[in-house]
Each structure stands twice: as structure tokens, then as C-alpha cells.
């Protein structure tokens, strides 16, 4: 499967990571499927902490009601707080990905986001994985269209202008419904 990623996905996912640097974050990816390809079109930050079933259900339904036309929920992104742990999906992340794959009746994509320090600079890297819907097995994406240069250029403004401070996830939205989980300012 080939995966390509639109700019707003990088921006929203990275903004979510930067906003909650001391928490694990997870978000939903929507995109368009083609024969052997998936284009990730938008990201909906979900939570900064454990995701529970009742709100996951509602979040999926709200995303379905608000996502761009012609797109479906195709996967998730996850970032584990900067620790000594190697970048991998959390048990909770795996469960959510399985739900997404079963819901879609197709393989689901996971973007693992890794925040490191290299040469005294913060570097955010994205890794793509896919979960097979039949076997629920996680593997590398054969042709990942992730472009590190594109990702970093997308993030420059998010970081420089501190746009990440205004990112809203469903945890925040369910606390205060005046906060827009679509994050239109980052689109």
C-alpha cells in the first residue's frame, strides 16, 4: 500500500504533540482510499491520555458528521511521551487501530510520531505502519510517502508562531463544547 500525506495532517498531529509534551497523544486520520493507495487528508486530535470506549464512539460519530466529503476514517496517529521507550503503538493505540480497521473493513494506517532532540534541536519524525484488517497484524508500510522535508516545512510556522497552543482535541472539546475539534485555524 502507498500512503501519501497532506500538509494539514502533519500540522495538526505535530501541534497536538507539541501542545501536550508530557502526555501520550492520539488522533484520528481521515483520508481517501484508492486502489493500493491511501491519501491522508485530515487529522482529528482525539485525546491526551487513555481513550475510553464511550467517548471514542462519540468522537468517531462526530468526525463522520464533520469530515471532508469523500473521506473516511482510515487510521490514527500516536505519539508516546518522550521517554526511554522505543516508538511503538501503546496497547490502547493498538485497540483503537483494530476498531478503525474493523469499522472500515480494510487495513488501517498508523502514523507514529517521535519527538527527539538531535544536535540540540527538537526533531519530530513520522513513521508509518499498517494494520491488516483480517489478521490484526502491524507491519511497515511498503511505500510510505512520508517526506521529512515537507513535514518540517509544514511545522515551521506551527512552531514559530506557537499555533500548537490553540490545538483542540476531543478531550478538550468534551470538557468545553465551544472548542472546535476541527481546528480550522490549522487547516
Amino acid at each position: 500500500m502507498k500512503v501519501s500525506v497532506e500538509e494539514r495532517v502533519y500540522k495538526k498531529a505535530a501541534a497536538h504533540v507539541l501542545r501536550y509534551t508530557t502526555e501520550d497523544v492520539i488522533g484520528v486520520l481521515v483520508g481517501r482510499r484508492g486502489p493500493g493507495t491511501v491519501t491522508l487528508v485530515d487529522a482529528y486530535p482525539l485525546a491526551h491520555g487513555p481513550v475510553m470506549a464511550p467517548l471514542l464512539e462519540i468522537a468517531f460519530e462526530l468526525i463522520d458528521a464533520n469530515k471532508p466529503e469523500g473521506t473516511t476514517i482510515v487510521g490514527l496517529y500516536e505519539a508516546v511521551v518522550k521517554t526511554n521507550r522505543s516508538p511503538t503503538l501503546t496497547p490502547s493505540g493498538v485497540k483503537v487501530l483494530e476498531v478503525i480497521a474493523d469499522r472500515a473493513g480494510a487495513d488501517a494506517i498508523a502514523l507514529l510520531i517521535d519527538q527527539n532532540t538531535a544536535n540540540d534541536e527538537e526533531v519530530i519524525t513520522f513513521h508509518a505502519r499498517q494494520l491488516s484488517q483480517k489478521e490484526h497484524r502491524l507491519s511497515e508500510v511498503p511505500e510510505s510517502g512520508l517526506s521529512p522535508a515537507f513535514a518540517m516545512s509544514s511545522l515551521e510556522k506551527v512552531i514559530r508562531e506557537r499555533q500548537y497552543r490553540s490545538i483542540v482535541d476531543f478531550d478538550a472539546h468534551f470538557e468545553d463544547v465551544s472548542l472546535d475539534f476541527r481546528n480550522p485555524t490549522l487547516s
Partner: protein, 296 residues
Amino acid sequence: MGRIFKNICDGKQDKILERLVSKRDKSASDLKSIIHFVKNNNLRYPELVLDCSLQLLSKHSSGLDSEYHLIIEELVNAAIESDFLEVAMKGIKSLSRKFGDKNTKVIKIAGTYRESNGDENNANEYYDYILSENKNDLKVQKRKLALLKTKEDLQPYIEGLNKLLKDNMNDIETWAELGFVYLNNLNWSRALYSYEQVIMLNPSQFYAYIRAAEILYTQGTTDNLYQARNYLCYVIIHDPEITRALWTLFSVCRAIDRTGKADAKNATLLTVCKKRLKLCYEKAKTSTLIDNYNLE
């Protein structure tokens, strides 16, 4: 370990803070208000606190008097959290000059600085020193335990939390943290037990009820769904504006309906939930978010 439910956003407090921050030409009093508001509400805006502290120290230091070193302490904590370690070190040196190297607070802050710098061994030594003087210092015990949270294997951390609770059974923060860790590891029954301890220790901790309800829903079974519904109704009776509770109750009532074993109250609660949610979105002027959502 910070706020009990640090994983749930403070939407309402964010708005109050926004009002404080948006004021132009802030006076010393305004800057102090922002710092105190963030601290007293256990919010997490280290860059903001850092900014306000630096402004206070650079423009208004002569008027700070006895608060001078309190502001430095806030500055250091904020700088550590924002990864401005050079600023933090300068602050620590200032505190050290004022209170001495052997001062417990200074050592504690120096310990968190070492932690932030990845120097866990030294951090441990600092905490061990404080505990050798006072083994009952709960904050330092927790700080020492927090060093285990960064490891791949969380079992020692979980064991440490349980050990802490043996000597401090009434510590709500540790019960909540244990619940949070169990949740992350999908250990529902132990997570539920932990949150129910929080409820028993402080029945007005509404978010513990919501978490417990979410866990019960996830565990499934009709009995669990009814128990979840009870918890959520309790929260909504006391505060009908908690939209997280309303959405969770909506989810739970729908699930009860799907079991085919719904009691007469369920349909009424579902209707009340939907009406209240619509009202909340109308009041927040974000009804567009649920326009295409079937709340019928």
C-alpha cells in the same frame, strides 16, 4: 505528579486565563495574577509562567520584596518544564545563595533540574538525601517514584505506587495516578478500583465518577452499564454543565437500549441528555458541530 486529572483539559479555566493574558500593558499585579492563577488551578502553561516571571524580575523586581524568591522559584519550575535549563540553573543558583545549598526546597528543585537534564542518578541522590532527613516527605517520595515512569517496564513504578499507598492510604493523587497507569495498560478492574477509592476519599471528585463510568462501559455487561449510568446521573445532578458526563451518559443509555433490557427510566434519561447537549452547543454557539449529527 501534578494535577489529579491532568489528562483532562481545563476548558473553562483556559478562558479565564485567556482574559488575564490578553490584557495589554500588564502591571506587576497582572503578571502576578497570571502566575498565581496557573499555580492555584494546577494548570500547565510553563512558557507563560516563564514569560511573566521574567517580566516581573526584569521590570518590577524592586517592588517584589518578600515575593522575589517565590517568583524565582516559579521561574525555575517553569524553565525546567519548558526545557530552558540555563535559565533554570541561574534561578537555582540565586535560590542557593539566598537559602543555602542544604535547604530542602533548593535540593528538591535541583533534583528536578537533574531529572530534566536526564541525570537520573544524581536526581535520585538528591531525593535520597532529603528522604534521609525526612523519610515522610511525600512529594519527594513521589518525585523519586516518577523516575521509574520513564522506563520501558512500568511494573516497578506500579509496585512503587502500591507501596506508597500502603503507608498513605488516603492520598487521592496516588490513587488517581495508579488508576491512570492501570488504564493505560488496559487493566480495567484495577483501574476501576483505584478510581472508586478516589470517589470514597472525595465524593465531589466528579471526574473520578466519569472515569469509573467509562471503565464500566468498556468492561461491558448490563449491570456495569447500569452502574455507569448511576455514577453519571450523580455527576449531572450536581453539575448539569459537565458536557463530558452528558456525552458519556448519552453513550451509556444508548448501549443499555441496545441490550434490550432497558428500564423505563432509560428512555427519559436519553431524551434529557439529548436536550441538554443541544442546549450546551447552542449556548456555546457551536451547534454547527452537531448539525449533521443524529441527536434524535
